[in-house]
């Protein structure tokens, strides 16, 4: 209420300035008139009385100005006067104005240009084939997006074959492994579903990528090497396939080596099959999902389809609605993968 009345006062002071000014003028004048009346009553001549009254009040204009300075909104008015003064000065000195504007324009322009170059070179587009069709999954929440997904959600997306051609899961945080046997080294690995490499159009230069059998629970201890690790650890030996890689003292069979140009997101030295229970009804969110849109399907179509699918999903998993605060109106969505990288 107090704030409201203050705003009202400020807007009255600024907008109905003439009226406010006239009232102030009347008020101060009446004061001087009344002071004059007092002097005349005590026997002074009218002109002398008036002169003394005016001097005694300290000048009508000065009184008015001191009221104006204290008035609410005085700061705003001063700012406006400064702005107008600035504009007048600029108009008066065209040479200075041109120089200042040119300096600003060059500065802003140069920054924009440099940023554009940085953006294009450092944040260069993803190198995967059909990268513009690769999207990643997220769930929007008022406090921000969450990118983790659950197995039932993975399955639900898998069924949307009208919009998604392929879908793959991976764990974004990826474990560190102690490479044992020979010189110890810590390597970074991520778990991926068998579909992962196909989705990214990544080819093995030796051996092969994971089979669906290897990706199933108890599918065995197999591993795929990055080009870098293959070079570093095995001296680019062509006969590593079938050999064992010792991770934390457990032997893993090397089934493939990826090409030099394949860099996964996040980067990794080794890839392991995810081997999650694909029929699980566990709603825990523990991995990330990427998908490749069907040719000709746009982001909005995919998201519209996911909105539809959300209703079915909630029907099958009523718990998700309660436990995950996952109302159908807030269905999960997909976003270009490039956007994830820019973050």
């Amino acid at each position: 209420m107090k704030l409201l009345s203050r705003i009202r006062t400020i807007s009255k002071n600024l907008l109905r300035k003439q009226q406010v000014e006239r009232r102030l003028d009347d008020e101060v004048r009446v004061y001087v008139d009344m002071l004059t009346d007092e002097r005349i009553a005590s026997g002074m001549s009218p002109s002398e009385a008036r002169r003394i009254a005016q001097v005694g009040s300290g000048g009508i204009e000065q009184v008015k100005q001191s009221v104006r300075d204290r008035r609410a909104g005085a700061g705003l008015e001063l700012l406006w006067q400064d702005a107008r003064f600035g504009l007048r000065q600029l108009r008066r000195n065209p040479g200075f104005t041109i120089a200042a504007v040119a300096a600003l324009a060059l500065g802003i322009g140069a920054n924009t240009a440099i940023f554009s170059v940085v953006n294009a070179v450092l944040l260069k587009p993803l190198t995967y084939p059909d990268a513009d069709r690769i999207v990643h999954f997220y769930r929007p929440f008022p406090e921000g997006r969450r990118e983790e997904a659950s197995v039932p959600e993975f399955r639900s997306l898998q069924q949307q074959t009208s919009v998604f051609a392929q879908i793959a899961g991976y764990d974004a945080s990826g474990p560190e492994f102690n490479l044992t046997g020979g010189r110890p080294e810590q390597v970074h690995g991520i778990h991926v579903t068998a579909s992962y490499f196909r989705l990214f159009g990544a080819l093995a230069i030796l051996g092969r990528t994971f089979t669906p059998q290897e990706d199933a629970p108890n599918g065995g201890k197999v591993v795929i090497l990055s080009y870098g690790l293959w070079q570093r650890k095995f001296g680019a030996s062509p006969d590593v396939i079938g050999k064992a890689l010792s991770l934390g003292n457990e032997p893993y069979t090397i089934v493939g080596v990826m090409g030099k140009q394949f860099v996964s997101m996040p980067e990794a030295d080794i890839w392991l099959p995810f081997q999650f229970e694909s029929v699980s009804n566990n709603l825990g969110h523990f991995f990330h999902i990427v998908a490749k849109l069907q040719p000709g399907i746009g982001l909005s179509q995919a998201n519209a389809q996911m909105q539809l699918a959300a209703a079915g999903f909630l029907h099958n998993y009523p718990k998700a609605n309660r436990a995950q605060r996952f109302p159908a109106a807030r269905a999960s969505k997909v976003d270009p993968l490039q956007a994830l990288r820019a973050e």
Partner: protein, 110 residues
């Protein structure tokens, strides 16, 4: 008279104006005269400080104003206390009384 005039402490003008209006509505000169009278001429309030204070206090919601006839049939702007002005008067009176007591005691201490 001017020799015993005191400089008005910052912030005390508000209290004097509130007090002057406590007895009823007054116009600007009336407030000046009332303060002069109740302080026995110790404080002479000049319009250069009175009017800014009145406008500020009106904006703060302690006073409101209206135009009326003065005793000499001049159209003058009268001020009166609002409810929040009355509250302010009692708050400031309490404060001032405490300060005055404290100062008196401090100066009396040996």
């Amino acid at each position: 008279m001017s020799s015993k005039q005191a400089t008005l402490l910052q912030g005390r003008l508000d209290l004097l104006v509130l007090k002057a209006l406590g007895a009823g509505e007054l116009h600007g000169l009336g407030i000046s005269r009332r303060i002069e009278q109740v302080t026995r001429g110790t404080f002479l309030v000049k319009p250069g400080s009175l009017f800014p204070a009145l406008h500020r206090m009106e904006e703060a919601g302690w006073l409101n104003s209206f135009w009326g006839e003065s005793e000499n049939n001049r159209r003058a702007k009268f001020y009166r206390l609002t409810r929040s002005g009355k509250r302010q008067l009692s708050v400031e009176t309490d404060q001032w009384t405490r300060v005055a007591h404290a100062m008196t005691n401090a100066l009396r201490a040996t």
